[in-house]
Symmetry: C2
Subunit: 104 residues, 2 copies
DNA sequence: GCACTTGTTCGATGATGATCGTACTACGAT
DNA sequence: ATCGTAGTACGATCATCATCGAACAAGTGC
């Protein structure tokens, strides 16, 4: 049960551009964001293939969450993350799509 | 005379998103970009009011230039910088406008 | 020539941050 | 209750980088 609790994140009006840009500027985190962009319904952190250990992964997810880039909620033992597309689009229209347009 | 020489910068296809985002993620550099956005014809570095010394300013301008965010050419003793709007828009459509849309 | 302006380069320093291993928590299943 | 799974938290280490001062470079003008 319980089975669904959201983790603390900034409200839309608390999101700062510098934090978002800095969060997106790290290669591993950008990789995470790209993976999330393909799955609107969200995805468990561990299912993203990354060249780092679990603890580093957790660190990056926290950074992205605290910057306001993604939201995370608990489902049982897994943590589902999804992009905060609407909030970002509202605050910085075009930013996310521009970033995702980058060649892979 | 001479009076006009361009400084080395990456070609459009050499620009990497991570570098651009990382460059934009620093507060002072973002301030520079915002200042440049208001002046399409370019502006001398020293004329932007910044809370750092001249050497730090030079460092940030170099970072932005090497990331591909701006171009610089020499005019006499001054160095005029301007945003590489077209290149950025072509590579990451919407990114720059999204960043500049952020509340000031 | 010399002085002045504009800006860069170099080296040092201090802060931030990416990474890891280990220990820990929470949940699910047996 | 015990085990296994998914993930976080902490502390340490190492690299990156923002910042500065001092020295240097290139133009302009007297």
């Amino acid at each position: 049960m319980s089975t669904s609790k959201a983790l603390p994140q900034p409200d839309r009006e608390e999101i700062r551009v510098e934090a978002v840009l800095q969060a997106l500027g790290e290669p591993v985190r950008l990789q995470i964001v790209r993976a999330l962009a393909d799955v609107p319904e969200g995805i468990a952190c561990g299912e993203i293939e990354l060249p780092v250990t679990a603890s580093t992964r957790a660190h990056h997810l926290r950074t992205l969450r605290e910057a306001g880039v993604l939201s995370t909620h608990t489902e049982g033992t897994r943590r589902i993350s999804k992009l905060r597309r609407e909030d970002l689009e509202e605050l910085y229209p075009g930013l996310l799509s521009g970033v995702l347009a980058a060649r892979r």
